[in-house]
Amino acid sequence: MDMKAKDGLYEGLVSAYSRELYRFAYGLCGERAQSEDLVQETFLRAWRAIDQLQDAKAARAWLYTILRREYARLFQRQRPEARDPADLDFAGCRGYDTSTEAFVLRCALERISDDYREPLLLQVIGGFSCGDIADMLGLTPATVMTRVSRARRKLRELMERGEASRPRRKVARDNEGMPL
């Protein structure tokens, strides 16, 4: 791919997907600055590997996958116990939409572990099917369906019981926080 084609493709990807990737990143980490870092790193990696992108139709799923991996890496670097406690409480509850409902929903989402939250966000924000998500996460479609179902059920329970906005530390990747 020559430089002009690479530039054109990159421009197209930025214009088409940077906004929704930012929202997906925000859904994952709940922090504005970290979300922007994730998106920047995602596009930087995409630029470096843009020659490998054979099919432009696959670009969207490819970008989501890069972002997820970046998030996983970031998460490994910043285990909750290693972070400043001041950053942890309500970390995911600071948003722009100040409506109570949005606030409560973001808090509820924060209380769902990554293994369940990721496929749910890929479906709700990304609009991917369970089959697509299974390919992206390296899981079987049945596992994805189970995880998405449980995430939705948990989200609804938290909303209905009014527990969502209770202060809570960010849950770890090993699911210690979500009895399902």
Binding site: V14, Y22, G27, F43, G95, A102, I125, V148, R152, L155
Partner: protein, 241 residues
């Protein structure tokens, strides 16, 4: 599909398009209400995460690309310089005035093979089949003949190889291009492995010299090596150097 199946499906993929699922939703008011509640939850979740994108994000992504491109260019320039320098060193090492070694150390055959491939890397990109007659004529220059057809040759050239010239071929393997050097003037005592970055191969002795076969690491080179070894025969008495 009954109500229980429909509710299960709904939680996993509310917008699924299975005809059975859609038909049940159309027919069952209770499930439809549940579906509407879930749709509302998804919509509220999407809205809650519809946070404003930081101002200038796209511009910053473009700047990051420009910075990265400059870095890549610098790296390519230095990479080219390093390769040129290494080739120069090899050329100096291989230069033997008057055909005498002149006390300079021998460059291991495996290194010569890799450097030759790197130096002539354009050969790996050739995709057009080389006519069989041309390949045969090339071998005849070295008093060698092919006892059968060597398939998939996309590059064939006479090249300097160590002490004497030899045949440089590229054939298309299962994982990518495979380089073959038939080196009538180069003798090795035993098989030698060739390993460099993502290239792997083998140099083996033959009655008239040696053969090197090198491909990408995932390429099964054994069958190609055997094929070449069986096909290439000396014309008349073998060369003994």
């Amino acid at each position: 599909m009954n109500c229980m199946d429909t509710r299960r499906r709904m939680l996993a993929e509310p917008n699924a398009r299975d005809p059975e699922y859609r038909a049940h939703l159309d027919a069952c008011a209770s499930c439809r209400r549940e579906w509407q509640r879930l749709q509302a939850l998804d919509r509220r979740l999407a809205e809650a995460l519809d946070v404003p994108v930081p101002e200038g994000l796209e511009a910053r992504l473009r700047v990051a690309r420009s910075v990265e491109r400059k870095r890549e260019r610098r790296q390519q320039w230095f990479g080219g310089l390093a390769l040129a320098a290494s080739l120069l060193v090899v050329a100096v090492l291989l230069y033997r005035p008057g055909g005498t070694p002149g006390g300079l150390p021998e460059v291991p055959m495996a290194h010569q093979v890799v450097l030759h491939i790197l130096h002539e890397h354009a050969a790996l990109k050739a995709r057009r089949a080389v006519p069989e007659a041309r390949v045969e004529a090339l071998f005849r220059q070295f008093h060698l003949r092919l006892s059968g057809r060597l398939e998939g040759v996309t590059y064939a050239r006479r090249c300097p190889m160590g002490h004497e010239d030899g045949v440089h071929l590229v054939v298309q393997g299962k994982a990518g291009p495979v380089t073959i050097f038939v080196m009538p003037g180069e003798r090795v005592r035993r098989p030698q492995a060739v390993e460099a970055r993502d290239l792997e191969g083998l140099i083996v002795p033959t009655g008239y010299g040696s053969i090197a076969v090198v491909g990408v690491a995932s390429e099964p080179i054994g069958p190609i090596l055997e094929r070449v070894r069986n096909l290439v025969r000396p014309e008349g008495p073998s060369r003994t150097g």
